[in-house]
């Protein structure tokens, strides 16, 4: 039997045959071909992801569910997750992005949580590359049109430009929702004798085998893959959100599952497996949009805006009436039973029968060969002495600030409604997005970040740095980190050096999560992000959620006041390796990023939280891309206030100003609070930089720029 044409490997066929005691039929093979694809089964990474710390005192629900949930206190939880939609966005940017947003929203909804905010991670190619304009415009419009219509504000994100994404743009969509802890909808509560119900849009041929499509590299004829692209309908999704939440409030559903990759099959088999029940599905009862669909097409269709519900028979009538109110199709397509047999019938004929646990969990893991490239460490060679300091400091600064990965993304975030739902305290354009919770004092802090360049130079340190950056930003803002979600965007795992990088990044991230007490509660992996022209840099993306006890505990950035003393806390030996500065000079990637120090990060985090809580500063900004120089420029532009800085240390000025990495922050402290500030940071490297004031930002021996000039580039206000 030619099982390879369904995307099934020899070992997988053997495993299926062994489990069934017979050869799988064509319908079953097609189902396994999709369910056991990389995108659905995580066969190449499941064992690696086990290295992530996933438990903690604030973790209510960890990885493996529709989303993770952390405890916000007083019986309220935040459900959140990030997901990638990379391959579809490369082929059809608008719809790929729109359906990416729609999909992650439904994951949050499936837990019974009301989606309250989104963030987007956008990775585009070189701005000069012919495809970048079209791809970026389409992706941004797709994210905006969908999120705006569905009424979920997009409150932040991360945008990166690098040639490695020329043919492989990345779209990582993050969503967070709120749910009462005693009302979480589970996927494990189905019992025999209940109804399997499909709620939402009709089923068509959209995206059939889309999951398999995401598991192979993009070929030249990717355009031929258009039939695999799903079309999103945000209006239908809004109705679905309201209907599902109404059903939950009225206690009419036993379980709920989002229909994403591999639609009906993945959602129903997952509920069956997790609940430990069997299922009989009748595909002739599925409301269809296209004529003459075959059972396997119905099984694998990725038509959007559909949810799977498990309903007790006595509640079915009320469920139907809620569906009617919201103008959604609602059909009973099967029933649950004892045992673990998952069977699909079509007009009375049994067309497929597999154990539910085999579908979701039965795929044999793949341990690809992993090998650190022989010449890997040569990239750490970096001749700092051979790098001249900037001849024209002002020009160097303006060029850094004008770098596409640095400039404010107003053209992007003004296309997003960031205010609907009336919870946005700090929105796009700021390092930390802050949401208030109505009726409560506490606020939620959100950060979404990535640093592919450090991951390229040293995957372990880069992975750790990515996690650490989010925790630093939250801590400076006064938010105690509760947990994080990750999107691991990587090229093909079948190249040993690339698989090694994936392993190392995960290890580095895990080390940082452990040291910082910030567990991974959910996540997503996207592999095979490469084309003939090249592979993407290792791009782990991290979305971290924190809790701010009250509005007074939130420390903003960009809030310098005349007369404040400016301080740099943190080691003065950052590294130019993988820095924005080095990249803006057009130099090749070289150098080794700083070593991760769990102790220093933890220490920093605690002092930063204390600084915010005790209001020991007017303004605080954790250093990230562009280092101290970028932080000074951004704060100055946003405050409308200059500063005179003297760097009284022997380190080269370009290293101090443009170096990156390590737990460091820029604070603006009113004179009256300086003793308190110094006491909080006593014992930690702390350098007084100068005084805020005037309309020029100058660093002695380096640059001197009018604040108005910086504002021209950094028009944030």
């Amino acid at each position: 039997m030619d099982f390879s044409k369904y995307g099934i490997r020899k070992e997988e066929f053997a495993a299926a045959e062994a489990a069934l005691g017979r050869e799988p039929n064509e319908c079953e093979l097609r189902i396994l071909g999709v369910m056991w694809s990389e995108h659905c089964s995580y066969k190449s990474t499941k064992h690696l992801l086990k290295h992530f710390p996933t438990r903690g005192p604030k973790v209510v629900l960890g990885p493996g569910e529709n989303a993770g949930i952390v405890d916000l206190g007083d019986g309220l939880g935040a459900a959140f997750k990030a997901e990638s939609h990379n391959h579809p966005s490369a082929v059809a940017p608008y719809q790929g992005a729109a359906t990416g947003v729609g999909g992650i929203i439904r994951d949050i909804l499936a837990l019974g949580a009301r989606p309250v905010a989104s963030m987007d991670g956008l990775f585009f190619g070189d701005p000069e590359h012919p495809r970048t304009g079209h791809l970026s415009a389409g992706i941004v419009k797709g994210v905006g049109d969908y999120g705006n219509a569905v009424g979920v504000p997009t409150v932040g994100g991360k945008t990166v430009y690098d040639p490695c994404y020329n043919e492989n743009p990345l779209l990582n969509a993050f969503c967070i929702g709120l749910v009462e802890l005693d009302k979480i909808v589970s996927s494990q509560t189905a019992r025999p004798g209940q109804l399997v119900v499909l709620l939402g849009s009709k089923t068509g041929r959209d995206g059939i085998a889309g999951a398999a499509f995401a598991s192979v590299e993009l070929s030249e004829d990717a355009k031929e893959s258009r039939p695999s692209i799903q079309i999103g309908d945000p209006f239908a999704e809004k109705m679905l959100i309201e209907a599902c939440l109404e059903l939950k409030e009225k206690n009419l559903i036993v379980s709920m599952q989002d229909m994403g990759a591999a639609g009906i099959t993945s959602s129903s088999s997952e509920v069956a497996a997790k609940s430990g029940v069997g299922m009989k599905l009748h595909f002739d009862r599925v409301p269809l949009r296209a004529a003459d669909m075959e059972p396997w097409e119905i099984a694998l269709s990725e038509s959007q805006e559909r949810m799977l519900l498990i309903v007790a028979p006595e509640h079915m009538e009320e469920v139907s009436s809620v569906a009617r109110k919201w103008e959604l199709d609602c059909a009973v397509i099967g029933e649950t039973e004892e045992g673990d047999d998952y069977s699909i019938f079509f007009h009375g004929e049994k067309v497929a029968s597999l154990p539910a646990t085999l579908i979701g969990d039965g795929c044999p893991p793949i341990h690809w060969p992993s090998e650190k490239p022989a010449d890997f460490e040569t990239r750490w060679d970096f001749d700092l002495d051979g790098l001249p300091a900037p001849g024209d400091w002002n020009a160097a600064m303006l060029s850094l600030l004008g770098n596409p990965s640095m400039t404010p993304k107003r053209w992007i975030f003004e296309q997003y409604d960031s205010m609907v739902q009336l919870n946005t305290v700090s929105g796009p354009g700021h390092p930390v997005s802050v949401l208030r919770i109505k009726g409560r004092e506490s606020l939620i802090g959100l950060v979404f970040d990535a640093d592919p360049w450090k991951c390229c130079l040293d995957p372990f340190r880069g992975g750790a740095e990515t996690v650490a950056r989010t925790v630093r930003a939250l801590s400076v803002a006064g938010a105690e980190p509760l947990g994080l979600t990750d999107c691991l965007n990587f090229p093909s795992p079948e190249v040993p050096g690339q698989y090694w990088a994936l392993e190392e990044c995960i290890e580095g991230m895990a080390a940082a999560c452990g040291a910082l007490g910030c567990p991974v509660v959910s996540g997503n992996v996207s592999l095979y992000n490469e084309t003939k022209s090249g592979a993407i840099l290792p791009t782990p993306v991290v979305g971290t959620v924190g809790l701010i006890p009250s509005p007074e505990d939130f420390l903003p950035c960009g809030a310098w006041e005349e007369g404040d003393l400016l301080f740099l806390v943190g080691p003065c030996n950052p590294s130019l390796a993988g820095s924005l500065y080095i990249r803006s000079l057009g130099r090749p990637e070289a150098g080794r990023p700083l070593e991760f120090s769990g102790e220093a990060e933890k220490d920093f985090s605690e002092r930063a939280l204390r600084t915010a809580r005790k209001k020991a500063a007017h303004s605080g900004r954790a250093l990230a891309g562009g280092g101290l120089a970028a932080a000074l420029a951004k704060d100055s532009a946003e405050s409308g206030c200059g500063a005179r800085i003297a760097l009284g240390i022997p380190t080269r000025k370009d290293v101090v100003l443009f170096g990156e990495g390590g737990a460091r922050a820029l604070y603006s402290v009113p004179m009256s609070r300086v003793p308190l500030f110094k006491a909080i940071w006593s014992g930690y490297p702390c350098l007084e930089l100068g005084r805020a004031g005037g309309d020029v930002l100058s660093v002695g021996g380096a640059f001197s720029l009018a604040v108005s000039r910086i504002q021209e580039i950094w028009r944030n206000n």
Binding site: N148, A149, P234, Q421, R436
Partner: protein, 239 residues
């Protein structure tokens, strides 16, 4: 003041408006589903909220304007009752012919979400009674189809009768193309009907009703209506 907020399929600012009105004025606010044919008894103010009713499909507000509830809304307006349309609500009012004009795609052909400065040009309406004439307020906008358009002769009539209630301006209150985000004719952000009981505006006052969210200018808006209704809700020229 008894308020009714209509919810159409796809409305997404309804809960925001309910929250802002309750939070500012503390009055009774009822949510009314678009399929209902009557408004709650004693309703003083009807609000058509923002969002994407019917996904903005066909034309923004077109299908919502033909909803069953609109009969009751028109009757309420005809009797001098107050009707407020915010963003998508404004679009619905023009599609229902309760207000003149039409909202076209923004001149940028893109959705725009940002804070906006508006000058309050007519304080002789139930919605703006507590503002000062010429006061500059900040309400955010968030729309893709906000270009207010009226043919020239109707536009003159509107201006002459003081129908332009809100206009996009600079923070200092000066008009100009660079302060007009969507290209609306005469930088018009909000208008009122000749009787003064129906107001439509593209910016969102409910998003400027709490300091923690960035501004409180919106509170004067709700308080103006509450004050008007408390005084008996009678106006020169209305029943």
């Amino acid at each position: 003041m008894k308020t009714a907020v209509v919810i159409f399929p796809g409305s997404n600012c309804d809960q925001d408006v309910i929250h802002a009105v309750r939070d500012t004025v503390g009055c009774e606010v009822n949510a009314v589903w678009h399929r209902e044919e009557q408004l709650p008894e004693g309703t003083g103010l009807v609000i058509l909220p923002g969002g994407f009713s019917y996904g903005d499909y066909l034309r923004s507000g077109a299908m919502a304007a033909r909803s069953p509830i609109m009969g009751a809304v028109k009757e309420h307006a005809g009797q001098g009752g107050l009707v407020l349309g915010i963003c998508n609500g404004f679009q619905i009012l023009t599609e229902s012919s309760l207000l003149p004009g039409v909202l076209l795609p923004n001149k940028t052909l893109s959705f725009i979400c940002r804070p906006c400065f508006l000058s309050v040009e007519n304080t002789d309406t139930p919605f703006t009674g507590l503002f000062e004439k010429g006061q500059v307020v900040q309400f955010p906008i968030a729309h893709g189809d906000g270009l207010f358009f009226l043919p020239a002769d109707e536009l003159n009539d509107l201006e002459n009768r003081g129908g332009a209630v809100f206009r996009y301006v600079s923070p200092g209150g000066v008009g100009g193309d660079e302060w007009n985000p969507n290209g609306s004719v005469n930088s018009i952000a909000g208008i009122v009907n000749p009787q003064g009981n129906i107001l439509g505006l593209m910016p969102h006052p409910e998003r400027a009703s709490e300091a923690i969210l960035g501004g409180e200018d919106g509170r004067l808006f709700w308080r103006s209506v509450a004050s008007f209704l408390e005084k008996g809700g009678r106006r020169h020229g209305l029943l």
